[in-house]
């Protein structure tokens, strides 16, 4: 905790534990994410990083503890309800709708017409088209708008998925290994993209790539065996002997 003043936090995880048949994936974990920060969560395999995202998004219910987002209790809400509160999640493997075009992928994420009736009546208004085009520009896919997603490269699919989150204007973005399998150039562009997101949006990135973490993260949390091992800016994390032992050293 090098920063003196704590701004208001957007996400509070308090004493969360999850066990699967006795195995503790998360063990009394507490974490707080601030409104404008980019937080990296790192840790060796099996440290509980993805489980942490599962807990926040309602995919897995915690065995104990609570999760609060903008003062709202999230535990007990369904996944789609949590999404509508303003939390977007990108999965580890690119998860876009392959048979749809880039435009249709983004349009489907446009945060409107979410019931079957309104989705049936949904029309492409000027506003929708403009929003989709803006987002496509942000994620470097403006000239691929009418190509099918299956024709995109790996990195482009990852961006498309990030774009599909951005169009919903979430106040918290959860990204699970966004640059895995990307070329160096694409990694840089992804870092640029995340750094340009601006104020009012918190980002949690689960990542293995230390170079990438250095480029984007304000704060780093290190998980180990379901517990919080260390937390702070990258420079101090890299010097932490405990972190070096479990993670960075090998």
């Amino acid at each position: 905790m090098t920063e003196g003043i704590r701004t208001e936090s957007i996400l509070e995880i308090e004493g969360v534990s999850v066990s699967f048949d006795g195995f503790k994936a998360l063990d009394d974990l507490s974490l707080s994410i601030e409104r404008d920060e980019i937080r990296a969560v790192i840790g060796p395999n099996g440290a509980g990083k993805t489980t942490l995202l599962d807990i926040i998004t309602g995919r897995t219910p915690p065995t104990s503890g609570r999760v609060r987002f903008k003062e709202i209790e999230l535990t007990g809400l369904r996944e789609y309800q949590i999404v509508r509160k303003g939390i977007g999640r990108k999965f580890q493997t690119p998860s876009v709708h392959e048979s749809l075009t880039v435009f249709e992928n983004l349009e489907m994420s446009y945060p409107d017409a979410r019931t079957w009736w309104s989705a049936w009546r949904f029309g492409r208004t000027r506003e929708v088209i403009e929003t989709v085009e803006n987002i496509a520009e942000t994620i470097y896919l403006k000239d691929r708008l009418h190509d099918r997603a299956e024709a995109l490269g790996h990195g482009q699919k990852q961006w498309l998925e990030i774009g599909a989150l951005l169009i919903q204007r979430p106040s918290l973005l959860l990204l699970d290994e966004p640059v895995a399998g990307m070329s160096v150039r694409d990694r840089e562009k992804t870092a640029e993209l995340l750094n340009a997101l601006g104020k009012g949006r918190a980002v949690v990135v689960v990542e293995h790539d230390m170079e990438f973490v250095k480029q984007i993260a304000h704060q780093v949390s290190v998980l180990h065996q379901g517990r919080l091992l260390a937390e702070g800016p990258m420079e101090s994390i890299q010097k932490d002997p405990r972190v070096i032992e479990v993670y960075l050293g090998h």
Binding site: T57, H97, L100, M108, W116, W120, A164
Partner: protein
């Protein structure tokens, strides 16, 4: 194969209008669908009535009532990925609603005066019932009946759908439960003979508000009403297919979790597809009763439900056109085989299903005729020459130009995946 440039063999020879039209067909799925739709309407409204006598036409009408079920299955199974093995339930419920109304009309006091309780359906009298059961009373009114036909099956599907999809029951488990419902309903109908007519079903239906449904004229009228409703149902299905709702349903089939994490209530969307399919099946069932003149539990249970799924699979479970043609084809085959070799039919339909699953996962509609023929030619010519076996396949021109030379199958080709 979307925006491929037309190979355009001899564009100069063609009048520009036609050329522009065919070019548009190759790239615009919507335009293609519209053409297929017109062809379907022509086949059903003009070709069949011209070439078939009323006996055959009535038979086609009967097959087309299964077309409603197939349309529903395309939306529910093909698009949204929910396999229901209980569509016979909804077909039967719709059919029974209609049959109950017609039976009451046929059981007026005068024509049932020899019964110990005149004015109730004959099978009730045989089963020592002395008054009309309460749940039969609404079916004295045609209006109530017409409301009940979509409502009763729709509500059942709504309850089943919500109960299962909200609890994340899906896939094989959902299929098994719907199959169990089909078994339960047919056993219930057979067991409660006094209330339902039992294994014989509801027979001797005569008039609809005084209009005799057994005459040839009535059969013609009912055929056209049936086709009109079927085309209407297909048009509604297309409108869904082309909307964002249609894309969401397909996305649920392919990547359910992504749709969930995009903020859609996936359980409600699935329930919608299931209810839609059940209402379609119910309309088909009601039209079946009107055209065939009776309804029985043999259209409700597991076997008819599975036959409905097979018909949709043969035609192409993701193609609305394919499903209708597939239903016609499978039922023609069924009539033929049950007349000529009755003991073979089950083997035929079983192998048909396996064949389709193994060779044509998208059914007949998934066959790209031009590609299939070219591939065959390439293979054939290769056999004669001494080329290496594993030589790369010759580039096959994937021509999206729709070719529909015969009545079956090829019309649906490309209707889906493009």
């Amino acid at each position: 194969m979307t925006a491929s440039v037309t190979p355009a063999p001899k564009p100069a020879a063609r009048p520009p209008m036609l050329a522009r039209f065919t070019t548009q067909l190759t790239v615009d799925r919507r335009a293609r669908q519209n053409v297929y739709f017109v062809i379907l309407a022509l086949v059903l409204l003009v070709v069949f009535p011209l070439f078939f006598d009323i006996f055959r036409l009535n038979l086609v009408g009967k097959y087309l009532t299964y077309g409603f079920v197939a349309l529903g299955l395309v939306m529910c199974w093909g698009q949204a990925g929910i396999l229901s093995l209980g569509q016979g339930v909804f077909f039967g419920l719709g059919g029974y609603c209609m049959a109950m109304f017609l039976k009451l009309e046929a059981s007026d006091v005068k024509s049932t005066s020899i019964q110990s309780t005149p004015g109730i359906p004959d099978f009730m009298d045989w089963n020592q019932l002395t008054s009309l059961p309460t749940f039969w009373i609404p079916f004295k009114s045609l209006f109530c009946t017409l409301v009940a036909i979509p409502l009763v099956p729709g509500l059942l599907a709504l309850v089943l759908g919500l109960a299962m999809f909200k609890r994340r029951v899906g896939g094989v488990y959902f299929a098994i439960i719907t199959q169990a419902v089909a078994a339960i309903l047919s056993i219930l109908i057979i067991g409660q003979q006094g209330y339902t007519g039992g294994v014989n079903g509801i027979t001797d239906l005569k008039t609809l508000e005084g209009w005799d449904i057994r005459t040839d004229t009535a059969k013609y009228v009912l055929y056209f009403v049936n086709v009109g409703l079927l085309l209407g149902a297909a048009a509604v299905a297309f409108s869904i297919d082309r909307s964002k709702l249609g894309r969401i349903l397909v996305a649920i089939r392919d990547r359910e979790e992504r749709v969930l994490f995009t903020g859609y209530d996936v359980a409600s969307m699935k329930t919608f597809a299931f209810v839609l399919a059940s209402v379609y099946a119910a309309i088909g069932g009601a039209m079946f009763t009107l055209q065939v003149g009776f309804m029985s539990p043999s259209f409700v249970g597991i076997v008819p439900s599975i036959e409905m799924v097979i018909a949709a699979a043969v035609g192409g479970r993701t193609s609305l056109f394919g499903a209708i043609y597939g239903t016609l084809l499978v039922n023609f085959a069924k009539t033929y085989f049950s007349e000529s070799f009755p003991e073979l039919w089950l083997f035929v339909i079983g192998s048909l299903f396996m064949g389709v699953v193994l060779v044509l996962p998208n059914g007949l509609a998934g066959v790209d005729l031009r590609k299939a023929v070219l591939t065959m030619i390439v293979r054939f010519s290769r056999r004669g020459t001494s080329r290496r076996r594993n030589a790369p396949p010759a580039p096959v021109v994937v021509g999206p130009v729709p070719e529909a030379p015969d009545g079956h199958g090829s019309k649906g080709a490309e209707a889906l995946h493009s």
